[in-house]
Amino acid sequence: MEKKILEVKGLKTYFYTEDGIAAAVDGVDFEVAKKETLGIVGESGCGKSVTALSIMGLLESPPAQIAAGEIIFKGEDLLKKSDKERRNIRGNEISMIFQEPMTSLNPVLSVGNQIGEVLRIHQRLKKQEAADKTIELLDLVGIPLPERRIKEFPHQLSGGIRQRVMIAIALACNPSLIIADEPTTALDVTIQAQILELMKDLKEKLNTAIMLITHDLGLIAEVAQNVMVMYAGQIVEYADVDRLFEQTMHPYTIGLLESIPGVDLEIDRLDVIKGLVPNLYDLPQGCRFHPRCKDARTVCKEKEPKLYDLKGHKVRCFKYSGTW
């Protein structure tokens, strides 16, 4: 068994607002092993990003609060640590890449300053040492002329280069885990492919574990070993990438796969999942997916299915309960 780096147990992250309590993450368990890439898939609002921000400790509280659960990183529960201890882990041992490279960099600080800052606070490098390391990092993420780039400001860089800078910031302290939240979504298709190549490359070189959050199943197929599908704050399916694509079980995952447009298929209409993601303030009774599910029966409306474990392939659906 590979050693696990991150273990999330029964995580519940709730938002306490005037409209009521929204269970953005509602009892999520998973693990990330060393060097593993775990893909997390789901529609907007399913709880992927909130899970990531809970691990990072970056949720604004109030309104957000972690109501229950444990986030065990290298054997220690992050939720029991002080703010200072968590800051020392953030950007150092666990780092994060965000979706919007256009707005995620500070417009008034130079690239060199923004990367070097991480090295100065976590590794206590001197200014010159940090500058040297920054040039190495920019080179590593494939930015040409790094000596010139460190003096430039974000507005002088293209979206692709900015995302490479974000990756360089994330890699600066050789983290054990990188959380990438939709790292390619905001980029042009050709740039997406380049960033994807870069991430695959770096993964081989650096052996970092990655949690890749996306709604792009194509991206998952390319880089992830294991995949976790989330819906309305819960895990609905979990499997290794081959099994997930070959023996897809959950009707929601099947729907997601069918909504990918294919080039070689002669169909006019895509099969899309009908309806919308449920309102977190007003979740449906029974299975949270049943109002949109083609296969729903009476039991689905009445009882909530648990996550059935079929030899490592987990699925939250009564079809696999053995009594369907």
């Binding site: 800051r87 953030r90 965000f98 919007e100 417009p107």
Partner: protein
């Protein structure tokens, strides 16, 4: 370098603005009814044809208006702004006497308002909707909405008349009236003369009018800092800064404040320019011999050379302040330079 070219461009722009201001001031003072000879020379001198002729030649009064303007400008460039009717002294000397007083007062008031405005604005934004935020906002609204003349009268009444802890009026106490000024700036002159008793006395005279002047500006700065900081705090790059593991002080003071200062900078510059232009009401109430007081007296006595001189000086000060703001923008915000 981008910043250098940017600055040069701004300076050229400033020169154009100043030319515009002098033209406007010149035309206005020439369209005002009244014979400049009568206004400037007075009855006795008018009866002497030689004086009249000399005066006409000096200011080109027998020529066309554009020529007169060019003559005025060439005199101005040599530091000759004419003679004040009221004081019978060269306007430039009057300005040299009154401007330093205003400069010292305005600078102190601006420093006070920036320091307190920034502190209050940051506290208010970081602790938004908490008790301290409401308290700070109440103070800033009070500062903004209280008329300066009323605040000046009240503070003079309270601190001078009732409590007797503040001096009444002027720049210095009568005991120091013999102190001769070199630069006109009391702070500089007293330090260079090693007279710290005079420095103390000058500051003592300045503090109350400076606080009164700072009140309104501080309120505006507090509100601007608060709102722009709140705006910046919801930006993605602050989340990035926190994700790096920076502590909250660095996140706010480095990543957020630098961005929030950009809109605030305009307020700093405008209010400083405003105060430097002289604050007629406060200077009159505190009987503080500054530029505002001088402009006021000149206007009431129709002293046109003095009014022109004061106008041009105030425009110059305003333009230089705006130049400084623009250059500071260029330093803080790299996007402005291009």
């Amino acid at each position: 370098m981008g910043l250098f070219q940017y600055t040069v461009r701004r300076i050229l722009f400033l020169i154009m603005v100043l030319i515009g201001v002098t033209i406007a001031a010149f035309i206005i003072s020439n369209t005002v009814p009244g014979d400049p000879l009568v206004a400037n020379l007075g009855q006795t001198a008018m009866s002497d044809p030689e004086i009249v002729e000399r005066y006409e030649r000096r200011w080109g009064l027998d020529r066309s208006l554009p020529e007169q303007y060019l003559i005025y400008m060439s005199n101005l460039l040599q530091g000759d702004m004419g003679t004040s009717i009221r004081s019978q002294r060269p306007v430039i000397d009057d300005l040299k006497q009154y401007f330093p007083a205003t400069f010292e007062l305005a600078t102190l008031a601006t420093l006070l308002s920036i320091i307190f405005g920034l502190i209050f604005g940051i506290i208010s934004a970081v602790k938004r909707n908490k008790l301290i935020d409401h308290f700070v906002r109440a103070i800033s609204v009070t500062g903004i909405s209280m008329p300066a003349f009323w605040l000046a009268l009240m503070s003079l009444y309270l601190f001078y008349f009732l409590l007797d802890i503040a001096p009444g009026s002027g720049r210095l106490s009568a005991d120091f009236s013999g102190f001769s000024l070199q630069t006109g700036f009391l702070i500089i002159d007293s330090i260079s003369a090693g007279r710290f008793d005079i420095l103390k006395n000058a500051l003592y005279h300045m503090i109350l009018p400076a606080l009164v002047l700072a009140g309104a500006t501080m309120g505006i700065i507090t509100r601007t800092v608060r709102s722009s900081l709140l705006d910046v705090m919801s930006q993605d790059y602050l989340r990035t800064a926190r994700a790096k593991g920076l502590n909250e002080t660095v996140v706010i003071m480095k990543h957020a404040l630098l961005n929030a200062l950009i809109p605030t900078l305009t307020i700093f510059g405008l209010s400083y320019g405003n105060l430097l232009g002289g604050t007629v009401l406060v200077e009159s109430i505190f009987d503080y011999p500054g530029l505002g007081w001088y402009a006021y007296i000149s206007a009431t006595t129709l002293d046109f050379p003095a009014i022109m001189g004061a106008t041009i000086l105030i425009a110059l000060v305003y333009s230089v302040m705006n130049l400084l703001v623009d250059v500071t923008y260029g330093i803080i915000d790299p996007r402005v330079r291009y």
